[in-house]
């Protein structure tokens, strides 16, 4: 169908625009939106040396939109990443009415891209589903799931022989996390950089989509016929993140660039704190031996309270 005369045009080629970047006032057509997003991800990877030649990158693939876009983009950038290989890791937490669909979606994606795939589940690793673990403690869903999922992803990455673990966190996620850490008074998390030198103690995590907005990711998927209208996590209503997301999204709409500015502020705080803030030394958990900031790692602290 031919678009009407009132369609805004691409700032580069004058084709009909499908994406408006409010921060810089630029309109992009489908072709230029895709190349702009891939170029910016590539630049983030290069500037922050997230991936180096020879890396084996484990991609945390839930099957949701962010991880789907991440795997597609990294697979597309692969020819420019010398000697780099990809392996997708999918974790089935056991969330009825939610995870089955995304796991299926993840399986379809790796098949179509021909990417190696490792699947793990909470029952296999921890003895029960997340739904069972959360009975009576639903408000802790994101904390419990976060700790277990992190361990599951590390286990998957180790089994795959990965040297990096890539997650699909986007600009919106990252900006929300900055605000949430401030609201919680969690200074340690605020200045922590998960991609920093781990000195071989754990697989460094990278976030190649951290400069790409949620809307750009959705646009990328729609343009590549990879959009799937998946259900929402039933536990997300309990999360502080939902309120922060709504607030931040409103601010970003009224004041374009808010999220980017928030990330720049975090970077400056990190820099100023580097010389003055003493981080907790990384030790080994006395129960499982995993890297930990305390005597017991978060997983071992959690384990005793989990319903088997």
């Amino acid at each position: 169908m031919v678009p009407g005369p009132e369609v805004p045009r691409c700032s580069i080629c004058t084709d009909p625009a499908v994406l408006f970047q409010r921060g810089n006032g630029r309109h992009l057509c489908g072709t230029h939106a895709i190349s702009d997003i891939c170029d910016r991800v590539s630049a983030t990877i290069r500037e922050e040396e997230m991936i180096v030649p020879g890396d084996r990158v484990a991609v945390a693939l839930s099957g949701g939109k962010d991880s789907t876009a991440l795997l597609m983009i990294l697979n597309r950038l692969l020819p420019s990443l010398k000697g780099v290989s990809l392996v997708a890791i999918t974790i089935d937490e056991g969330i009825a009415g939610y995870r089955d669909e995304t796991v299926r979606s993840a399986g379809n994606l790796v098949s179509s891209l021909g990417v190696e795939h490792i699947s793990l589940s909470f029952p296999d690793l921890f003895g029960n589903t997340l739904d069972q673990f959360l009975k009576g403690r639903e408000k802790e869903a994101c904390t419990v799931c976060g700790i277990l999922r992190k361990k599951a992803l590390i286990t998957g990455s180790e089994r795959a022989g990965a040297t990096k673990l890539a997650t699909g966190h986007n600009l919106d996620d990252e900006a929300q996390s900055v605000l949430m850490n401030i609201f919680r008074g969690d200074f340690s998390r605020l200045v922590r950089n998960s991609g920093a030198d781990s000195s071989g103690r754990f697989i460094p995590r990278i976030k190649p989509l951290k400069g790409i907005s949620e809307k750009e990711i959705a646009t990328f998927l729609l343009l590549n016929n990879a959009w799937t209208d998946l259900p929402e996590c039933p536990y997300s209503g309990y999360a502080l993140r939902r309120e922060v997301r709504s607030m931040l999204s409103g601010l970003e709409y009224r004041h374009p660039g808010t999220m980017q500015h928030l990330m720049e502020s975090k970077k400056k705080i990190e820099k100023y704190c580097a010389s003055t803030y003493t981080r907790e030394p990384i030790r080994r958990c006395r129960v499982c031996g995993d890297p930990s900031s305390g005597e017991l790692c978060q997983l071992c602290q959690l384990r005793s309270s989990l319903v088997r």
């Binding site: 169908m1 678009p3 009407g4 009132e6 369609v7 805004p8 009909p16 625009a17 499908v18 994406l19 408006f20 409010r22 309109h27 489908g30 839930s62 949701g64 939109k65 939610y98 919106d172 907005s213 949620e214 809307k215 990711i217 959705a218 646009t219 729609l222 343009l223 959009w227 209208d229 998946l230 929402e232 996590c233 536990y235 997300s236 209503g237 999360a239 993140r241 939902r242 997301r245 999204s249 409103g250 970003e252 709409y253």
Partner: protein, 64 residues
Amino acid sequence: MKLILPDRSVRVLDISPSTLEAILLSLGINPLEVIASRNGILVTEDTVIGLDDEIRLLRIAHGG
């Protein structure tokens, strides 16, 4: 114009041509939280929407 909301419910709006952004705001929807297609083609929020158009909205912000 016919508007298909993210929950797939349909609303018919009798409006004079206006931007998608103005329509979304009048419905209390933040334009950053949805993606819109007009007659099956992706459009930006500053696109002017006519009476005969069919707009479909997809909600992009998901938890989980």
